[in-house]
Amino acid sequence: MEVRKSTIDLYDSYIEGNLDFQDIESKYEDDSSLREEIVYLQTMEYAIRVKGLADMKKSLQDIDRELETAQKPVTEKKVLKLSSYKYLLVAASLLGLLVTGKIVKDRLTLGSQDSIYAQYFLPPPPPFSSVRSNQNIEEDTERQSAYRAYEQKDYTRSSQLLENEFRRSGDTLDLFYAGISYLGVKDIEKAKQLLQLIKNDSAYIAKFNYKEFIDLMEGQNKSKSIK
């Protein structure tokens, strides 16, 4: 059996919505070779769709693995703390009596804060509609600027703009992203003040495990997991 070009065109008319499948069936009623070709094309179409869905599912599974890695900072924190401890021993032996244990501890905390920031600050993407809305209303433009600054990781600007947006809109979405922006500039106290206001909203906690991140930045070990 060889699939003719005319049969492909016929089948594509159905794919493009110009023909019903019944129209095709009526054409091959008395033509067994046409029927065979159509069945082949239909099988091919089905297989392509199966593959498309399977590829998409694989993408979701990949995202899943990434999310799970991102949500397990506590285990990795132990590794960090262990390396900090080793560093403490080395530093203490080198500096001896010149440096007190407190100064060493403070310095280590500062150093690991940068390291924690680099490793664990994984801000969620901005809300799609807020960045790409094309409405020319002035207040929407300001909102877009705020989220665009956030998208461009200009957290100094986005923290201010989004806090203003929150004051204007009262929308917890703006509040959430303002808080994350303050985390982006390592202003933990300010971030905590803002994020405290939505601490019980599980949707936001799911979006970014910010409580755990704050605990890590503050060097606390109390957080186990937030779900």
Partner: protein, 185 residues
């Protein structure tokens, strides 16, 4: 919930940028959905995640097939509704569901088929294998046209061909090539 307040037209978004839209949707909703499946139905870990991933896949297929053009409810309600149905299937036929291969996708595609289902399943498996090895540009052209339902002009623009006729000719050659592989098997 943030998904409602942001007022995203998810159906349009999935149609225009499926990978991005579904990745965003999944990332934003996954934890809540998995917790909900855990708490409501007592399904744990991988099973709950698998069910939610399948719900997203069903949503995607329904959008592509034009089975949903707009949502009466919000996207979360719709997805959770699909989850409920998948959980029902899970309890009904635990052996069949959640096997980590592509049988589920075949079931989705063939759900409206009644005739020659077994023969179709076997042929689809073979064809699927060849699609994995056919390579580009054939794989992309066939997938964009028959799966994502893009027109020839848009495919040409996306893949950098000068006009729709070129894409159409290429598609024809790809089908012939795939058929050759299928016949040789």
């Amino acid at each position: 919930m943030e998904l409602e307040s942001s007022k995203i037209d998810w159906i349009a978004h999935i149609k225009s940028e499926p990978n991005k839209a579904l990745a965003t949707l999944y990332t934003r909703t996954r934890n809540e959905a998995v917790s909900w499946i855990n708490n409501t139905f007592g399904l744990q870990g991988d099973d709950a995640k698998e069910i939610y991933q399948d719900a997203i896949i069903i949503l995607y297929n329904n959008v592509l097939q034009g089975k949903i053009v707009s949502l009466e409810s919000n996207i979360k309600t719709y997805l959770f509704g699909i989850c409920r149905f998948r959980v029902y299937e899970y309890f009904r036929d635990k052996k069949k569901i959640l096997v980590k291969d592509d049988n589920f996708m075949v079931d989705i595609i063939l759900e409206d088929e009644v005739e020659y289902k077994e023969e179709l399943e076997s042929n689809i498996s073979q064809m699927y294998m060849h699609l994995n090895t056919i390579g580009d540009p054939c794989r992309s052209i066939l997938q964009l046209y028959y799966f994502e339902k893009m027109d020839m002009t848009s495919i040409g623009d996306l893949l950098g061909y000068k006009n729709s006729e070129t894409v159409k000719n290429l598609k024809y050659k790809c089908i012939k090539r795939l058929q050759k592989m299928f016949d040789l098997h």
